[in-house]
């Protein structure tokens, strides 16, 4: 899917990521809203004796929740920005990073020998 998105024109390649706290809030939002819609829909359907009313209420609640959680609203889901570490391989840190990676390879070899 990411490959297909990369083929889109640049104006459509919008970032939709949200931070971890935002993901937690988004999941809790849709769980609560849809469960409430299911309960309300059941009682509305039972009162009017129309199953279609119950299903329509759940579908409407799903659309409403989609408007809330699908777009990456910055005031809801981007309040705790993720702090990424600086990538290895930048200028000034190549020598140290290569030695550390070589040390890590040696450590892995020693560990595998021990387990055998």
């Amino acid at each position: 899917m990411d490959g297909m998105i990369a083929m889109l024109p640049a104006c459509l390649q919008l970032s939709t990521h949200i931070d971890f706290q935002g993901q937690k809030v988004a999941e809790r939002t849709y769980q609560v809203v849809l469960t409430l819609a299911g309960i309300v829909g059941f009682f509305v359907g039972f009162w009017t004796q129309q199953l279609s009313y119950a299903i329509f209420i759940v579908m409407a609640a799903a659309c409403f929740t989609g408007v809330i959680i699908l777009p990456p609203w910055s005031f809801l889901f981007r309040k705790n920005e993720i702090v990424w570490q600086t990538p290895a391989g930048e200028q000034g840190s190549t020598s140290t990073s290569s030695t550390t990676s070589a040390e890590k390879d040696e450590k892995k070899k020693k560990e595998t020998k021990k387990t055998k």
Binding site: M1, T16, H17, I18, Q23, A26, E27, Y30, Q31, L34, T35, A37, G38, G41, F42, G45, F46, T48, Q49, Q50, L51, A54, I55, V58, M59, A62, T65, G66, I69, L70, P71, P72
Partner: protein
């Protein structure tokens, strides 16, 4: 949940889960209700004639024609889990060949509405009342009963028999008229 497709997938899956739960609750709320209704059924103008039936050994079979009146109020059967009813009229009798014969004479699909009353007068059967022998003549009691399938929105296909049935004796002579 880090991109929009992931969130959309999670939302859709949970929505379908909730819809399934609501439908299951709808089924549970209607499964123990009583779906029987009384029916007013009368059968008249019964005529029995014998016709050539080349598929059997006897080469002759009894064919009965009749006309019936039916009055049923189905309104209380319909609830939010009932889509339609499939109502049919059955003639049951025993004979020397078979312990039980059941012949469906007429059926009708009844769809949901606010008030559903079936009032049929002088109806001719849809399907032939053909015996596999000559057992209809002089029969003491042929039982006519209305049964219906309750077709739900969610759940199993329920078969209900109405509380009333009538038994009629059949004519003792073959009819000579050509008109049924």
């Amino acid at each position: 949940m880090h991109n929009i497709l992931n969130r959309a997938n999670a939302l859709l899956a949970f929505t379908l889960w909730v819809m399934a739960a609501v439908t299951a609750a709808c089924f549970l709320s209607t499964v123990f209700l009583d779906y029987t209704v009384p029916t007013k059924l009368t059968v008249k103008d019964i005529k029995v004639r014998t016709i050539a039936d080349y598929a059997t050994d006897e080469q002759q079979a009894d064919l009965a024609t009749l006309s019936f009146n039916l009055n049923v109020d189905f309104t209380k059967v319909f609830n939010w889990n009932v889509k339609q009813l499939f109502v049919y009229l059955v003639a049951e009798y025993n004979s020397d060949n078979n312990a039980v014969n059941q012949v469906v004479l007429w059926d009708r699909i009844v769809e949901r509405a606010n008030r559903v009353v079936m009032d049929e007068v002088n109806v001719k059967p849809k399907y032939y009342f053909l015996d596999d022998g000559s057992n209809l003549l002089k029969h003491q009691n042929v039982t006519f009963v209305i049964r219906y399938n309750v077709i739900p929105n969610a759940g199993y296909l329920r078969l209900v028999q109405s509380t009333d049935q009538i038994s009629v004796p059949f004519p003792t002579t073959y009819t000579t008229s050509r008109r049924s």
